[in-house]
Symmetry: C2
Subunit: 329 residues, 2 copies
Amino acid sequence: MHLHVRDGEMMRLVTPLSAAYFAGAVVMPNLVPPVADVEAMKKYEGRVREAMGKQNFLPLMTLFFREYGEEELRRAKETPGFFGIKLYPAGVTTNSDAGVSDVLAAESTLRVMEELGIPLLVHGETHGFVLDREEEFLPAYRALAEKYPRLRVCMEHISTSASLKLLEEYENLCATITLHHLLLTLDDVVGGKLNPHLFCKPIAKREADREALLAAALGGSEKVMFGSDSAPHPQEAKECCGCAAGIFSAPVALPRLAQLFAQHGALEKLQAFVSDNARRIYGLKVPGKVVVLRDEVMAVPECYRGYGQKVVPMDAGENLGWSVVGREE
Amino acid sequence: MHLHVRDGEMMRLVTPLSAAYFAGAVVMPNLVPPVADVEAMKKYEGRVREAMGKQNFLPLMTLFFREYGEEELRRAKETPGFFGIKLYPAGVTTNSDAGVSDVLAAESTLRVMEELGIPLLVHGETHGFVLDREEEFLPAYRALAEKYPRLRVCMEHISTSASLKLLEEYENLCATITLHHLLLTLDDVVGGKLNPHLFCKPIAKREADREALLAAALGGSEKVMFGSDSAPHPQEAKECCGCAAGIFSAPVALPRLAQLFAQHGALEKLQAFVSDNARRIYGLKVPGKVVVLRDEVMAVPECYRGYGQKVVPMDAGENLGWSVVGREE
């Protein structure tokens, strides 16, 4: 429910890796320039569909948040393949009140989104201290949830136990959780040697946060959905000075989740986390797809290459305990 | 009061950059293998002296902490150039009590060090969560300070306000503070793009910690001394996957400190921080050396090269507001 497939050659390399294992994915609009009108979105969808090939996969397309007129929103809503609008609160400051007012300023857009049933997907971080950004943004979520009670607001890639608590307070809030936030803490990024391949935003937090997120996923919480936030960057952009944020987890996501859920004796909750919850929360009609996972070794490649691109996946070079052994479409 | 000059070609490149600006430096023993006996220390001192050339500079040599016999310690104490023993609590666990017992286990060594007046220099971190490691180690400092009231214990490169508080409680505790912990927070390392050149241990903490450390330095606290912890690594070992911890600040340390103290109207406190406090605390007799700093631009090189080495300094490519304009020896 949260995927970056990029564009161009990188898109051609990575899209099939998601399309092979998933029935659909929410495709994020943060290209340069961002996907911020229906025409651009339709064109992008066309490129994604070309990249995914003949696989049974539904790209759920998104627009980049800005102030949209009612007509534009109606047109988006009627466009096949459109899913929702993604907000990156670029204008927010370290002051969380300012964050709230920035988000709420786009009142007419939000009102129409609420009316039309267009989900608002939010990267909920302020520009404050890196470990506090998500928690500082919670008042903005609260304000959105209260002011627009019928607006479906998704707290994307939550990384703290505080977000989980807020989630329970409002019926119209839901959240995605990544694989890496179920597995990692800040120690994995900067606790030993620096690991640029595990550097992401929101940054991985404390063990207590990780445990709370894991408990929500394993416990079958109906408000959380798997969203990999798989975010590929070329190897040279990760292993350098000034490395970009993002973890490329798409090719290992399902096997690694199966391993994790199995380790905790919670395999029967995996289906809810990776599929059922999202279908129910959003009323999604995604084509059926059966992926068969088994506790057989998956040797994760050191990197994925193709189209002149080279990208290093999460768990590169490691053996996972589970793998995808079959698909029925 | 805390410097890594390494060995071999890197030592030949970096040592003159400290020797040019400082009258002396405590040279850390963490080579591979570590400097852990008097013979190795004397040989290392010889290599350091060769690398520094004819400059007026006193390398204050250290031994790597282990259990030492009384005779060894007496011999070290009598060896010209010997300064103290550096403890890296490699055996400590996430449990701070275990940290305390590990350190205190070497009782006879510590007792003789106390008796002979050999300073114990400590990298005070547990193996806990990266942001908590220093604070978790404080009980070990407290135990050392109480059990060995005449042992001079230096809390090296402190990075938290909690350490400053403990420092004030015991007469036999002192501390070094780096340049980078006066300037940086975790945001500078992982808040935007990942910056491997600012990745160090202890990792930079919160703004409140930085402000407390700065206040101690600017305020002329008599218990804190400048220790750059300048820790060069080859450029390729910093800009890669799995980058090593350490900031190479030696060539910019004095000008950047002068700029910082001047910005805060505290230039008159600089001498105490970079020199007088250490002389008084340790009763050091270091040859006099006058370094003249002025508010003239220093263009920091993108890197320092030589002897087949290439190392990127802190503030690489930037213009500092202060520079060293003269020396009298």
